[in-house]
Structure formats: C-alpha cells, structure tokens
C-alpha cells in the first residue's frame, strides 16, 4: 500500500470508529480492534508525569468486550448522545504492516433533553495494523486533556 492509500484507509478507520460510538453501534465498534488490541484512557497529567494509573485499561479485546457488555448490561450512567470531532490524522510507519496514528479529538455530549456540552478533548495515540485487506486498531490510547471528568465516563471516548 502506498503512503497515500494508508492515509486514506486510516482516515476511513477513524471515521468509522467515531461513527460507531456516536451511533451507538458497539458491536461494529468492537470489530475495529484486533484480538490482541489494548484500549486505554489516560489522564494527560498522569501520562506526562509517567504515573501508570489509567481511567480505563483493557489489555486485550476480551476486556474491551467486557467494557461494552457492562455499558449495555450493568452500569448506570447519564442518558446522552455522543458526538466526536476528530482532527487531522498523522500516520507514521512502524513496520511493514503497522503504523502509528495520532489525532486530536473533541467529544461533545448532548443530554436526552437536547443540551450539548463539551465533554472531553484530548488526543488519540494509536497503533493500527493491516490484517488481510483491512486496517484495525491494535492499540488505542486516549490521552485526555479534560481529566477532571464531568460526571462520569461511561461510553468509550
């Protein structure tokens, strides 16, 4: 794949990722991860200081599945819609079939009564891998600037 083709495919993957969350299609969202994928949500100040604690830590896809199962079947949280706005992607090769992917994001939450507010800004520090003819996330790290979380963090960022 050419650099341009990778960038286009990465762009498509990230757009899919955001759409799946914003549409509440979590089964489809799970399909964007490799079986060994990690998913982490990290506060920017802990990250910058090298402190290891995270807000969400899934070290394999089964743990990501469990997060979604809890979201849909156990935990209680505010009724809301999510809206992701993802900035310019930067893609850098790591190996023949893996790339680093970095982008800024903003997530707005809208209550079920239609009131919107900025919920989270930060960046994605991801790794993506070519698997067959698809690109998938093999490591997703969300570094959260808004680490004083408004209320609770239920839906993946």
């Amino acid at each position: 794949m050419s650099a341009a083709a990778i960038e286009k495919a990465a762009d498509e993957l990230m757009a899919n990722y955001a759409d799946c969350i914003d549409d509440g299609r979590f089964d489809d969202w799970l399909e964007l991860f490799t079986e060994d994928a990690s998913y982490k949500v990290v506060a920017r100040d802990n990250h910058d200081r090298g402190l290891p604690a995270t807000m969400v830590l899934c070290t394999n896809k089964n743990m990501i599945r469990d997060r979604i199962a809890a979201l849909l079947g156990a935990t209680k949280y505010n009724f809301h819609y999510d809206r992701h706005v993802v900035g310019q992607l930067r893609v850098r090769p790591r190996s023949d079939d893996e790339w680093e992917l970095r982008a800024s994001y903003a997530v707005f939450q809208t209550s079920d009564e239609g009131r919107s507010s900025l919920f989270s800004v930060g960046r994605y520090d991801d790794r993506i891998r070519r698997q067959g003819d698809r690109l998938l996330f093999c490591a997703k790290t969300v570094v959260v600037d808004t680490f004083a979380i408004p209320g609770m963090l239920a839906t993946p960022l």
Binding site: V41, A43, D45, N46, L51, P52, A53, T54, M55, V56, L57, C58, T59, N60, N62, M63, R65, D66, A69, A70, G73, A74, T75, K76, Y77, N78, F147, A148, I149, P150, G151, M152, L153, A154
Partner: protein
Amino acid sequence: MVENPAEGSVDIPEVKWSRNDYTRVPLWLYHDQQIYDAEQERVFRGPVWSYVALDVEIPNPGDFITTYVGDTPVIVNRDKEGAIRAMVNRCAHRGATVRRELRGNALEHVCIYHRWCYNLDGSLRGLPFRKGLKGKGGMSPEFDVAEHGMRPLRVAVHAGVVFATFSEDCEPLEEYLGPKVVSHLSRIFHRPIRILGYQRQRIRGNWKLYLENPRDMYHASLLHEFMSTFGINRFTHEGGLKMDDRHRHMIAWSRQGTDDETEFVELFKTNRVHESKMKLHDASILKCYREFDDGVTLSICSVFPNLVVHQIDNSLATRQVRTVDKDEFELYWTLFGYADDSEELTHHRLLQANLVGAAGLVSMEDAEAIEIVHRASAGDPDGCTIVEMGGGGPIRETDFHINDVACRGFWSYYAELMGIEPEGAVR
C-alpha cells in the same frame, strides 16, 4: 466538642427537623447558598481535621502540593526541617493565588503579582521596595511583616495520611478519628506506599450527597450491578458498619466469598432487583489477592468531612471531597499500591483501577445517583429524604449490610457543628 457552634458570621435560615433522630432530612439543605456559606465557616474552617495529602507526595524538604480544604485553596509543603506545614494559598497583599503550580519543590513561595515572598511556614519573608525608591513611596513604616503571612493551618499526620485544621481548639487528630479509624488507617497504610496516579471527577451535586453515599450501605448491591453480579460486594456477604463514638466517621466492610451464589441470585430475583445476564470474557479483573489477615476484601472508610479511603479487592485509593459551590464538588482520587508490590501485583492494582473512579465499573453510578438527586430535589422546599434503613432512634453499628445508619451519624455531627440540632437530638 463545639464551643459555640451558632456563633458565626454567616446567618442561616431556621432548619425544621421533623424528627430528632435524622430519619428525615430536609432536601433544601442541599441547595441553600447560606447553608453552603455557613458550612465553609463552621465545618471546613471549623473544629474538624480535613484530609489534605499523603506524606509520600512531599518526601523532601521544599516539596509542595496545592490542594483545597472545602473551597479554600491550601499549600501543603515540607519545610527545611522536614516538618509538614499547611497554609492558605492566598497572598496577604491582594489575595492572589501564591503557588499556582499543582506540585513542585521550592525554598520559598513567591506571589507573581508584586513578588511578595513567603517562607515554608507561610510567614511573610519580605516584599520588594518596602521602603520605596530614593526616599519616595513604599509601604507605611508601621506595616509589620510578621503580621501578614499566609494563614497557617495546624497539621497532623497519622500513618502517613496528612490532615489539617483551621481550628485552634480542635481535639488532637487521633482523638478526632477515634480508635477504630486510627487502627483502620494503620491497617491500610501498614507499610510504605507507592502512588500509582490520580483521577479527578466533577460531580454536579451538593458535597453532602457524597458524604452520605458511602454511609448508605443499602445502595451498594442495588445501584452497583457489576459489583453484586460478580460478587465483589453483596448484601449476602459477611459485613457491616463500624463508627466512632460520635458517629461522624464510618467504616463499611465486607468479606467476599462468604455467601451462597444461588441464594443471592434467588434473593435478587424475588426482590425484583436484577437478574444479570452479563458474563465476563476475561475474568482476571475479579481476582482478589488476600492482603489482610482479617479476611476483609472490601472496606470503605469515610472520615468527616472530606475523606474516603477504599479497599475494593486490590484497588486502594483515597478520595478527597473538594467543594466547588453548593451545586458541585470535585472528587480527587489518589490511587496507590505498596512500595514493595511485585510487578504482577502492581499490574493487578492497575487493572482493578477499572472498578473505581469516573469510569469505574462499580463507582460511576455514584456520580449519576448524586446528580439525579441533586437535580430533582432542587425544587422542593418542603420535601425530606428518608433515612430509615436499619431503623431509627439511637445511632448504632451494625453487623449487616442493609442499612443507612451512618448517614444519620453524618447528619447528627453536621447539625451539631452547624448549630442546627433539633430539640433532644440523637448524637
């Protein structure tokens, strides 16, 4: 305990308690600006010890952190002799924030506005151009540097947990905590700890709702479905409530694995609570290394007015309540393990951090519960909350889960401090 509680500069409206055992609490107490202002004076700046830091956060002379007592900004630092000191983070000159950083190391604190400079005990060391320039300008000759420091707080440390108070008459820390909380903190902090990280969470509710939340043991198995489904904590476990003699602090405790799983499932079905279909794909999060000889696998200790220390399986943390205003508070979570933990155990504690905090599988619901109480109760000047699980009357410890007795303990001490106790109040 309280010399003259009603003697404050903030006037508060009359509080009509319908019962003297706090089984009914007026909802407007969560929403009144005068009450909030009085709380800052009579509770947070009153005769209580507030949690401000863990001593490992400031190991060396000059190390400082900035924090809050209620909504008052505070610096906590270690002085050159190694003693921990605390002072209001506010310049005596114009009221500016002196130390703007969250943490660091310094030999003095200097306000950027006019470069007033303070020692590590908060005393004013000096100010630029105090005598003016070439005989002109400068501070009045009678201005006394010794009288214009940052306001100091008294500091006391137990088991590495640092508390501070504005009060000169507050009893010694260990008396304030009482023997049960003293020994509980000694149990949790029995060997050197290592801080794993922090979480911050802003909840749109009155701070008192978070003091009640851990005191209400009734909610745990009902609200936190993940917790009861996977047996981290259940009504059917051996467990109960301990309190100090004044009932201002509490420890809820539980031993997992002491119940019958099928009995629990049946009970929750017949009580129409929930019948969870959830199965875990990776159950490693549920592993619980037994760390304490007493077999207690969950303990939630809440120290009046601003601290929770939790042990949930192998997740350990302090939670500091910082009031923002009457409608919002911040929870500041400090997650830790022990300095000599194996790599495997450290990883497990980090994994179990998934259970707690803003995204916690067994704690995110608390934020939602508090926000829905705060939202719906705002418009009801006559309504009360019902605090009667475990019965009314005298406030007593329990050897069972289904109670909210410690909430009444909270209100009784709160009312005493605020000077709003009903006639014949239980304590």
